[in-house]
C-alpha cells in the first residue's frame, strides 16, 4: 500500500474526510514523525512502535573495484522498533 492508497482508504473509512483533507492528515503525521527525528527526538506510538536515532560508528571500508581504503564517517540512522501488539499481529 502506497501513501496515496492510504489516503484513499482513510477518506473511505471516514465519510467526513475528502481526499484532500485525508492527504493533509497523512502528510502531517509522517512529516511530524520525520521532523521529530531530525530534531533528535524519539517518537513513540503506542500499539504501533517507536522510532529512534541510532549512531553508526565511523569505519574504514574498501572500494571493491579499486581496492582503495576509504574512511566512512559516523552517521545517524533512523531505527524502528515494532510495538508488542503489532509484532504479535504481524506474526499471527
Amino acid at each position: 500500500m502506497t501513501k496515496s492508497e492510504l489516503v484513499e482508504q482513510l477518506s473511505a473509512a471516514d465519510p467526513g474526510l475528502n481526499k484532500k483533507e485525508a492527504e493533509l492528515i497523512v502528510n502531517t503525521i509522517f512529516d511530524s514523525i520525520g521532523d521529530a527525528l531530525v530534531g533528535g527526538d524519539r517518537v513513540e506510538i503506542r500499539g504501533f512502535g517507536s522510532f529512534s536515532i541510532r549512531e553508526r560508528d565511523a569505519r574504514e571500508a574498501r572500494n571493491p573495484k579499486s581496492g582503495e581504503v576509504v574512511k566512512i564517517p559516523s552517521k545517524k540512522t533512523p531505527f524502528f522498533k515494532t510495538g508488542k501488539e503489532l509484532r504479535a499481529r504481524v506474526d499471527s
Binding site: 502506497t2 521529530a36 506510538i45 540512522t77 533512523p78
Partner: protein
C-alpha cells in the same frame, strides 16, 4: 514525541476538534496495522517502507545458559527509511 503530540499537530493543521483529530489519527494507524497484518507492505514516499519479512527456523543459543534452542519460523516487521529521511537526519548536525 507521542501519539498525543501527533494528534495535537493534526488538530493545529486541520481545524478538526481534538476528539476528531484523535479518532482520525487512530484510524490512520489502524489502516496501517491491518495492512501489515495481512502481510502487505506500506510504502510512504519521503519517509520509508514497512515490510513484513518471513524468517525461517534457525538454531540459537540461550546466551545465559549456553543451551541450544530452536528459534521457530516467524514473520517480523522491518522498517527501511527512505534516502530523503536518512539525509535529513544527517544534515542536521
Amino acid at each position: 514525541m507521542t501519539k498525543a503530540d501527533l494528534i495535537e499537530n493534526v488538530y493545529l493543521k486541520t481545524g478538526y476538534s481534538k476528539k476528531e483529530s484523535a479518532e482520525i489519527v487512530e484510524t490512520v494507524f489502524d489502516l496501517i496495522k491491518d495492512t501489515l497484518e495481512d502481510g502487505e507492505k506500506i510504502k510512504i514516499a519521503g519517509f520509508g517502507n514497512f515490510v513484513v519479512k518471513e524468517k525461517s527456523t534457525r538454531r540459537g543459543r540461550n546466551p545465559q545458559t549456553g543451551e541450544e534452542i530452536e528459534i521457530t519460523a516467524r514473520k517480523i516487521l522491518t522498517f527501511k527509511p527512505s534516502q530523503v529521511l536518512k539525509s535529513a537526519i544527517n544534515s542536521d548536525s
